[in-house]
Symmetry: D3
C-alpha cells in the first residue's frame, strides 16, 4: 500500500484514531491515505486541516472542489487521487462519466464553459505555474467566479500538487472500493 | 505585494495576530507571506502547521530543511521562496554563497554528496514526480538518510510545490530585507 | 460526437454497413468510432483491417492487446480510446480496476513485471520515439516476448498513435455504455 | 536495414509480391519499407491501403500530401520518411529545395501561407495533439481547405505518426537512391 | 574551478596576460572565466571581442546588457553567469535586488514594461528559438527599441547561450567575490 | 534573406569586404550569413574569428567539425546552418548522404561509434546543458578524444547555439547553391 511503515491505528493519537473511525463509518472502509499519512501525525493533521478548511468553508460547490482535484491529479498522473476523488466527483456531481473525462483530458469533459475555465486554470497552475498571469484571474472573473472562489481554485490545485507528490513518492494505492463508487446513477443531463 | 486583498492585521483572529507579531519580533519585519495567507485564516493555520510540523520535529537539520526548500523553489522559479528561504539557508548553513548555488542549479552547489543526492530527489519529485521509483528512496538510504528523514525530504518538497504555486498565482513578492540577510559571514569552509 | 459529418449508415457501402451491424449486435450499441470513420470508407476499411490484423493474428493475448492500447491512449490523453478500450481491457483481463490504472499511470498498475515492461515500451514509443534503442527490444526479449510479439507491441502502439490523433482532431467522444462495461466482476487476484 | 527479419520476396503472398514488383518498376528499386513491412503481410496490406486511400482519392494535391508527410516526419525526426517522402515532395512540387526546408523547420520553408497553415496544423497534431481545438479547423477553412481536405490533412499526419514510430522502432533506413531523386530540376519560382 | 587545464598566466600570449591584468586591477580579482578560457587563446580573444563589441558599441544601456545576460543565464541555470553578471547588473542598474529577480523569474522582477518585453524575448530566444516570429521583433519596436538595439538583444542572448554552455560543460564556478558585489547600495526606486 | 538591413558590400570596412570576396571566389557565391552579419562589423569579425579559431587550429578533423555543426543545427531546427554546413559535411566527409542523416537524427546516421558519441554529446549540450556531467567527458575520452578535442566539441556546439539563434531571430535563409553541393560523389563506404 505504501513504501513507508503504516502505524497501528490503536496506537495513534486519539484525534487521528477518531478521524480514521469517522472515515470508516462514513465510507464503509478506511481510505488508505489516512493510514499512510498517520506515519507523521502532525503532518496528517495539517494536511487534512487544509483540505477541510477548503471543503467546509469554500464558496465553491463541493462538486467543483472534486472536479478541480481530479483535473489536477490527472495532469499529475496520480492514480490514488484520480481514483479516490474521481469517486467523490461522480457522487457530488451526480455524473457517472465525469471522473474519466476530467482525469484523461478535461478539455473533452462534458462540463460547462465555466467549469472548463476552472479546470484550465487548475491544469495550467499544475503544469506551467510560472506562466500564470493576471489574465488567468481575469478569465475566471469573467466566468463569474468571485475572488474568494478564485483563491480556493488555486489553493486546492496547490494542495493536490502536494498530495499527488506524496502519493507518487510513497507509492500510495487506492482502495478497490473507490473504483465503483458513484457509478450506479444517471448522469445529470 | 499580491493579487488578493490583504487583511488588516488587527482584525485577524488572535492566533494569527500573535503569529504575525512573533515573526515581526524575530525577524524585525513581517514576511509578506504571513500577511498574504491571512486572507484565509484556516488555510494560514494549516499551511504553517504543516511547515512547523517538519521544522520543529524533523530529524533533518534545519539547514537541510532550507536547502530542500531553496532547491525546490529554484526548480519552480519561485522568487518569493528563493529569496526568503535563501536567506534562511545562508543563516542556518552559515554559508553566504549557498542560496544562489541551490536556486540556480543545485548540481553546481558547493555541498556534500549526501546533500546533492537530497537535492536531486527534491528536484526530481518537483519536476518529474511520476518518474520517482524505489531506486530514489534507496539512493537516499545509501547516503545515510533514515526513512523518517526521507519522508520529510519528500514532504517538504511537496509542501513547497504547494506554496510555490500559491506565490505564482497570487504574485507574492519577497520583502527587501530578505535579500541581504545572512550574507555578512564567512562560508563554512 | 465529432467535428466532421456523420454519414447515414444506410447509404454506406455494404461492407461498412455489415461491420457496423456486427458491432451493434455484439456490443448492443454502435461504438461511435465506426460511425465517425465512415466519413471516409476506404480509410475506415484500412484502419479496421490494421486493427483486425493484429487482434486476429497476434501471438499477444487479447488482454495484452487492450493493455497496450489503454497505456498508449492514456499517455496521449485520448478520452475516446481510454474509455472504449478501457472497457475491453477490463473484460479481457477480467480485472475491473485495470483501466484507470493503465490510463493514469501504468507504473502504478497492478500488473506483472512482464506487462509493465510491455507498457513501458509502448509509452516510450509514444512519447519519445527517437529514444528507442536496441536495448528496448532486448528488454522485451528478456521478459519472454518473441520477435513477433515485440513487433506487434510496436505496431499496436503506433496504430493508436494514429487513432488517438484522429480522436483529438475530430473530437470523438465515447459512447456512455463503455464507462460501465466490465466493472461487474471480481478482479483476477 | 531493420531490427526484424526481412522475408524472402518470392515466398510472400502474391499481392505483396506484385506490389513490390510494381514499386521496383516504377522507382527502379524497391523502397526498403515494402520489404520491412512484409514481415507481417496483413499489416503491410492495411498500411498501404490506408496510404493509397488518401493518395488516390484525396482532394489534396499530391504535392500537398508529400509536404504534410515531410513536415510530420521532420517533427518526429524520422530519417526514413524524411528522405523517402522528401524525394517525392521534390518531385511532385517540382522544387529541389523543399524537402530540407520542410523537414528542418516548415516555418522557414518557401511555401504559400496556405501551405504554411497546413504544415502548422500537421506539426501541432504531431507534437501536441491534446491542444488541437476548433480554432485549428477554422484556420484551415479560412485558408480555403474543404472539410474533406482538412480530414485528410489530419489523417495523413496521423498515419505518419504511425509509420514514423514503426521506422524508429524497427530502425528502418532509407535506400540511398532516395537522397538524390528530384534534385535535378529548377525550383517552381 | 573547471574540468579543463588552467594555463599559467605568465606563459600566455601577451594580449591575454594584459587583459587578465586589466581585469584584476579593475575588479580586484581575476574572474575565473578569463583563466578558464585562456586554455584556447584564439577562442578567448574571439569570445571577449564579441562581448566587447556589444558592450562598447551598443545603443543599449550597460544595465540593459547585464539584464539580458542574467535573464538568459537564469533560463539556462548557469551559476557562473548568474553570479558574475548578477553582480554587474546590481552595479550598473544600481539595484541590489535585481539579480535574484531576473535570474529566478524575470516576470516577477521589479522592472519597466519595456525591460520586461526585452527579457521576455531573450528568454524565448533561449528556450524556444524556433518559435521566434516577426511579432517578437514588432513587440520590441512597439516598446521603443531601435533595430540596432533589437539586433543586440538577440546577439547578447545568443552569445550567452554560447557561454552558458561552455560554463556547464567545463564546470566553471564563480569567484566568491562576485556574490556580494553591488549589494551595498539603495535600490533605484 | 533577413529581417535586418543588409549593408552595401562596398561600404563595409576593408577587412569585411576582403573576407566576403574571398568567400565568393572560393564558393562561387557569397553565403548569405556573411552579408547578414556585416550589419555589425565588430560582431562579424568576432564570430568568424571564433569559427576560424576552431576550424584552423583544432585537432578535430574538418569533417568532424562539420558533423558537430550539422547535428547541433538539426537539434535546433536551424535551416540556414543545416543546409550550408550540410553541404560542407558532404564535401569534407565525402559522403553525399551524411547531411540529412545528421540533421534529422544523428542516431540513425551511418557513422562510427566514436562519431556517434561525439554527436550525442553535442546534441545533449544543445538540448539539456544542465545535465552534462563528468561522465559525458569520460565517454568522449573512452572513444579516444583528447581533452583539446573534447573542448572543441563543446566549443563548436556552443558557437552554433549562438549562430542558430541569430539565424532564427534574423530569419536567415540559405543560398540555393548550398542544397546541391557535394552530392555528386560516391559515399565513403
Amino acid at each position: 500500500m505504501t513504501r513507508f511503515p503504516v502505524p497501528d491505528v490503536e496506537e495513534l493519537p486519539e484525534d487521528l484514531t477518531e478521524r480514521i473511525e469517522y472515515e470508516r463509518e462514513r465510507a464503509g472502509f478506511v481510505p488508505n491515505v489516512f493510514l499512510a499519512y498517520a506515519y507523521k501525525p502532525a503532518q496528517f493533521r495539517a494536511f487534512f486541516d487544509y483540505y477541510d478548511a477548503i471543503k467546509d468553508n469554500s464558496p465553491l460547490a463541493r462538486e467543483e472542489i472534486e472536479m478541480i482535484i481530479v483535473a489536477t491529479s490527472g495532469a499529475n498522473d496520480c492514480l490514488y487521487c484520480v481514483v479516490a476523488h474521481g469517486a467523490l466527483a461522480r457522487i457530488y456531481a451526480e455524473d457517472p462519466y465525469l471522473a474519466e473525462q476530467l482525469a484523461t483530458n478535461h478539455r473533452t469533459a462534458n462540463i460547462s464553459d465555466q467549469h472548463e475555465a476552472m479546470c484550465d486554470v487548475a491544469v495550467k497552475l499544475t503544469e506551467r505555474p510560472t506562466e500564470i498571469t493576471e489574465s488567468d484571474i481575469e478569465r475566471l472573473r469573467d466566468h463569474g467566479f468571485s475572488m474568494e472562489e478564485i483563491w480556493d481554485i488555486a489553493s486546492l490545485t496547490s494542495l493536490f500538487n502536494l498530495s499527488n507528490r506524496m502519493a507518487h513518492f510513497a507509492d500510495w494505492r487506492p482502495n478497490e472500493e473507490f473504483y465503483q463508487l458513484g457509478r450506479d446513477q444517471d448522469a445529470r443531463e
